[in-house]
């Protein structure tokens, strides 16, 4: 039972990563670096110029999508909301190598029957995010 639990834990942690880019120097470099990690099951570069880019992403079932913030075409063609809607539950990280900054986006769906539920949801999400830092 213990072994099963550990295995489940490892499978759960294995990352499936999609990098949205035109294949820039930076994107290709981080794709290779991520591919070397043991906790990464898959890394795919998806060309943002494809018409079916979001279908491609959805089909790859990523747990993490990385968006190259320096890729003007990627940022023009794809919105954060569009990506999060296309792959519910995915974490989106926008990476900006010009400033060594990343911005993390995560969509969480919750039921809200009353106005107070909105504030409660905000506190829940804030606590989760802080716990992750």
């Amino acid at each position: 039972m213990q072994i099963i639990k550990v295995s489940y834990f490892l499978i759960f942690l294995m990352l499936r990563i999609v990098i949205l880019s035109r294949g820039s120097i930076f994107a290709a470099g981080i794709a290779r670096r991520l591919g070397e990690r043991e906790d990464v099951e898959m890394v795919r570069l998806v060309d943002v110029r494809r018409d079916d880019v979001l279908d491609q992403v959805r089909g790859l079932r990523p747990s993490l999508v990385i968006l190259d913030a320096t890729d003007a075409i990627a940022c023009q063609r794809l919105s954060v909301a569009g990506i999060l809607n296309a792959v519910p539950g995915v974490t989106l990280i926008q990476v900006d190598p010009r400033s060594d900054q990343i911005v993390i986006f995560k969509s969480v769906e919750k039921q809200a029957a009353r106005v107070n539920d909105i504030v409660a949801a905000f506190h829940d999400v804030s606590t989760e995010l802080c716990a992750g830092i």
Binding site: I25, F26, A28, I30, R33, V95, D100
Partner: protein, 219 residues
């Protein structure tokens, strides 16, 4: 033989990506520098075969670092790897002995192909930048002969600027309109004056109006 590479860029995330790419291509990254001073220091100490230099770096910019490294290591190949596609930076880099000038927006295949080309003695330049460089060389060669060259010898960007000057734009406003720095505008303006054989911007504006440069805009 494995090529030994030094990379200088103040953005560590970008540097990390490039290092991975170079290592996957079979190159050995012998050093990483986060500023221009460190780039010069490491270059002189490690004597790499290839130096990749960003332009905008703290302490010492990439063009200054290029001059110093080139003076001390004449055999090293030096390539600028930058976001700046400013003509002034490109020309200065080439004048100071850079074998290449690559934009960070380039795709990885183009980047690696350019670095491989260096080994065959080719310059690491995109076609677009090569064209701009050739226009520059052609125009400066004629300028040296002191011949007024006329509107046809102005580059597209210089013509745009001349139109703005004829409309009364200051350098600052023209820079804003063309989305370039004030220094770039000054640089283009200097070329315009030389090519047209005029002394100042007022004469350039008069030349432009007489030549009918604003006619297309009025119709």
């Amino acid at each position: 033989m494995t090529r030994r590479v030094l990379i200088a860029d103040d953005h560590s995330l970008f540097r990390d990506g490039v290092v991975t790419l170079l290592e996957a291509e079979g190159m050995e990254v012998v050093g990483e520098a986060a500023d221009g001073e460190m780039a010069v220091e490491l270059a002189l100490k490690l004597k790499p075969d290839l130096v990749l230099l960003d332009i905008h770096m703290p302490k010492k910019n990439g063009l200054e670092a290029l001059r110093e490294i080139r003076a001390q290591l004449p055999d090293a190949q030096i390539v600028m790897l930058t976001v700046s596609d400013d003509d002034e930076n490109l020309f200065e880099a080439v004048r100071n002995g850079a074998q290449g000038y690559l934009l960070k927006s380039l795709n990885s295949h183009g980047f690696l192909a350019s670095l491989r080309g260096l080994e065959r003695g080719e310059a690491a330049l995109s076609r677009k930048l090569t064209t701009r460089l050739m226009s520059y060389v052609a125009s400066t060669t004629q300028i040296e002969e002191n011949k007024p060259l006329g509107l046809e010898m102005l580059s597209e960007r210089e013509l745009e600027l001349l139109k703005l000057v004829a409309l009364g734009y200051s350098n600052k406003l023209a820079a804003k309109e063309l989305n370039v720095s004030a220094n770039t505008v000054k640089y283009h303006m200097k070329n315009i004056l030389r090519k047209l054989g005029v002394k100042n911007r007022a004469e350039a504006a008069a030349y432009a109006v007489t030549a009918g440069i604003l006619r297309d805009m009025e119709s």
